[in-house]
């Protein structure tokens, strides 16, 4: 906008002189009209006129000065717009117009700025909300997540990362990552640097950390973040705990190895004895009978093992057919004790049962419960050294409505940290592996049959070098039903 200003001063002296002369002439005419002309009055009036002229001149000077000031202000307002020099009659009006326009201009600018500020505030709120959302997402991830900038400072980390690396995830922002990560986990920093230097989009690593003596394995994916110039400006690391998967995988491998061994061993006997018979190496009838008997026993062993594996799978998948009936647990135990006695005698282990108790009827699948009892008994004998003892006891808790069976041995016992895992599928106690062979299925099958099929509960207590007590509880059958069952 252009504002016009005048470039001339007000002619103060002519105006002053004119005003004085006009006033003096007017005073003279008044005196002549009234015919009261006197020298004294005339001098006084002349002095007054002169004074008035001086006042007018002074006022003019003031106005001039004011106009120059305003002009200067307008010049400043027009700093960018330039000044058009014109002669104007009514500078004050133009000046007022210029100032009004300028004010309007400022008001418009102010409006634009306010709108701009509002937009920025909205954008800021949106950015804050987006950051809160991003934080909430990252904090909710159960895997450990760390975001670092180009200078290896932590921009963001979630609770899992804080727990894993031992720092307060809320106050760790912008601190160098090397200061935050615990000394025994510095391998992670090394991998982070390598990934950044390689500039690859994403790299995958398997890292092991030892925590309280236990090895934890993490699948660590590190992704580089790129700026607009395609330079790496940060990294995002996500660490997923795969300890359990590793353990399961290891257990499966062990299982395959154990099952393979358990299956191949009786098969080896069957094939070797069959070959001997076919080749006529069994010299007499007695030897032949012995060979046949061994082949039969090994075939049965193989069949039991396959049945064990299949039963575990069937129970797990819920496909097993359950045929429940009312039976006395004590009688069932007596039958299984008879079966195990031969094996116990071979190892010179004494097996002690107990007299039948009055009422210990349970509503169970007889074959399955027989398998439970035989598994517990054979385990007790397997892990007890020669000269040891296996005791089986049954007790009825009428108030709780349960019957409890315990198989106690004087065997090698189980280390404390392994006790809670003995019923896990495929699990074998490392410390006792050399004591006996097994697939890690027997106790799991016991648990599945007692708990999943019959709604009971298994338990174990053990002390290394002293022995173990394995057992289970089953709900007692209702008396009148049991009588019908008999």
């Amino acid at each position: 906008m252009r504002v016009t200003v005048r470039n001339k001063s007000v002619p103060l002296v002519p105006i002053g002189v004119g005003v004085a002369a006009f006033t003096l002439a007017a005073a003279l005419l008044v005196h002549l009209w009234q015919k009261s002309f006197g020298v004294g009055w005339f001098i006084i009036e002349a002095v007054c006129c002169l004074a008035g002229a001086m006042v007018v001149t002074w006022l003019g000077w003031c106005i001039n000065h004011l106009l120059e000031s305003v002009t200067s202000i307008v010049r400043q307002l027009n700093k960018n717009g330039g000044v058009k020099k014109i002669d104007a009659v009514n500078e004050a009006a133009e000046l007022a117009d210029a100032i009004t326009k300028k004010i309007e201009n400022y008001q418009h600018n102010e409006f634009v700025l306010e709108e701009h500020i509002k937009q920025l505030q909205i954008q800021l709120q949106l950015a804050c909300r987006q950051k809160q959302n991003t934080d909430a997402i990252i904090y909710s991830i159960r895997d450990a997540v760390i975001v670092a900038d180009g200078f290896d400072r932590v921009l963001m980390a979630n609770e899992a990362a804080g727990k894993l690396f031992g720092f307060d995830y809320k106050s760790g922002q912008l601190r160098p990552i090397i200061e935050l990560v615990a000394a025994d986990k510095q391998e992670f920093i090394k991998i982070l640097s390598q990934s950044r230097n390689s500039k690859s989009r994403a790299s995958r690593h398997e890292i092991e950390f030892v925590e309280a003596g236990r090895v934890r394995v993490f699948d660590c994916i590190i992704s580089c973040v790129y700026d607009q110039q395609e330079q790496v400006c940060g990294v995002v690391a996500v660490l997923h705990d795969i300890t359990k998967e590793k353990e399961v995988s290891q257990m499966k491998n062990d299982f395959v190895s154990h099952v393979s061994h358990e299956l191949k061993t009786p098969l080896a006997s069957i094939m070797a004895y069959s070959e001997m018979l076919a080749d006529g190496e069994a010299g007499d009838e007695e030897t032949r009978k012995e060979f046949y008997s061994i082949i039969q026993a090994q075939a049965n062993r193989l069949s039991r093992l396959i049945e064990d594996i299949l039963n575990t799978a069937r129970i797990e998948s819920g496909l097993i057919k359950v045929d429940k009936q009312y039976v006395s647990l004590t009688i069932l135990i007596e039958e299984q004790l008879e079966m195990i006695k031969g094996f116990a005698q071979e190892k010179d282990i004494k097996v002690v049962g107990q007299k039948p108790i009055v009422f210990d009827q349970v509503y169970v699948d007889k074959d399955m419960m027989s398998q439970v009892i035989v598994n517990l008994l054979s385990n007790a004998v397997k892990y007890t050294k020669s000269g040891g003892k296996v005791t089986v006891s049954t007790e009825v808790d009428d108030s709780a409505g349960i019957v409890r069976v315990k198989v106690a041995d004087t065997g090698v016992g189980i280390p404390e940290d392994a006790v809670e895992h003995v019923f896990d599928k495929f699990y074998r106690v490392k410390a006792n592996e050399k004591q006996a062979k097994g697939t890690g299925l027997g106790l799991n099958l016991v648990k599945q049959i007692v708990e999943k099929v019959h709604g009971g509960k298994v338990f174990v207590t053990s002390k290394v070098g002293k022995g173990s007590t394995f057992g289970f509880e089953l709900p007692l059958a209702v008396a009148e039903h049991a009588a019908v069952g008999k």
């Binding site: 395959v256 190895s257 191949k264 080896a268 094939m271 070797a272 190496e281």
Partner: protein
């Protein structure tokens, strides 16, 4: 192969039995053990010409037995055949390191085992003569 002494080690009594019969029927002298520890004692006392050992055994397994034998001056040159029911075989490096003459997977043929024993003893005898 008369008078040759074979130590057969397995915790599976039926396997020991069938191998012993096969070898005795073919003129070998057979001594047996139920685990690595028993086998080492027998080896020290009897100085067998060859050892046939199972891998997975209680107390001391087959590999531990072989390792101990290789560390014992008077037994270190005895050839060993390893029987295994493992799903994964023994890796070649370990086999070479422990100087295992042969690895047989279970189930195995007693005939094949006899043949291997005879071959290994023959090779050992040839090497001893040429030395």
């Amino acid at each position: 192969m008369a008078n040759k002494k074979v130590l057969v080690v397995d915790d599976e009594i039926h396997i020991v039995h069938v191998v012993a019969i096969k070898l005795r029927n073919n003129g070998f002298e057979v001594i047996t053990a139920a685990n690595g520890s028993e086998a080492f004692e027998s080896a020290c006392a009897e100085k067998p010409d060859i050892i046939v050992s199972d891998y997975q055994m209680p107390v001391m397994n087959g590999l531990e037995l072989i390792e101990k034998i290789r560390q014992t001056e008077s037994l270190k040159d005895i050839p060993v055949i390893l029987l295994t029911a493992r799903s994964f075989g023994i890796d070649d490096e370990l086999k070479q390191q422990l100087q295992i003459s042969q690895c047989l997977s279970k189930p195995f043929s007693p005939k094949e085992l006899l043949r291997d024993i005879e071959d290994i003893l023959h090779q050992t005898s040839v090497m001893q003569h040429s030395a």
